[in-house]
Symmetry: D2
Subunit: 80 residues, 4 copies
């Protein structure tokens, strides 16, 4: 298994490290399989307790990548 930006790499998942966490983009089941794998890995390294915070968004109206989300907010802030 390969780890990319702190998240197990899997086809269909995109990750983006930022200063206070890692964003993950993909289908629900793949995203949560990766997060579960993270907990298993950290437990496997000897930590008896692992804590994670997930800020989770789903949308059914359209696909939107992480880059598009940033551009959308930047556009709104610029008054476009």
């Amino acid at each position: 298994m390969k780890i990319h930006q702190g998240v197990p790499e899997e086809p269909g998942l995109k990750t983006a490290l930022h200063a206070n966490g890692t964003n993950i983009e993909g289908e629900w089941d793949k995203v949560f399989a990766a997060i579960k794998r993270c907990h298993e890995i950290v437990h496997g390294m000897g930590a008896p307790r692992v804590s994670t915070v997930i800020k989770l968004g789903t949308r059914t109206d359209r696909n939107q990548t992480m880059d598009e989300k940033i551009r959308s907010v930047e556009g709104k802030l610029a008054g476009r």
Copy 2:
């Protein structure tokens, strides 16, 4: 499907509503199946975007129920 305290009822899951969210206790796969079902239900009610915050803890050293977690903190705060 029956809903209990805002969470789809499922054998093996315990829920506790508090003033700012709902705690869920159970095995990983069941917990996240319930959260996924919540998103599906709210999308099904017409919301194109659904956002959730999950504060997640796993431990491998022992089982501990929600009630035991509260008593443990209360005990520590009381100096026991």
Copy 3:
């Protein structure tokens, strides 16, 4: 200073411990003064890094206590 449910006691603040955190009810400045004090206390006990997650809600339409929030959700879930 007296600590109540893990939060420095202060007139005007109400706290409620639950299985995965503590809810605090009160005016903005008092709430965040208490949270700041928590970080200072834990740093003072020797921890070089302290991490907290805050799920924060403000409303301008009316006052609503923590108990009223729980009853409101229970009422909606009961179909009332």
Copy 4:
């Protein structure tokens, strides 16, 4: 008042927009003054209820910028 990346600009605060939120770097009181101002602005735009999630970290051992935090994690992941 000038808004930068969704956060009221203030001397001493640095902000970084990412795909799922905005990171803020600075002294405690300035950071929370900015977040309070955000809530006031959104209430002033007509929203009766405003909800925010804050993942908060403080450290007393050394100063570390947002860029340094990213480089630190990238270094650890690269095995350095």
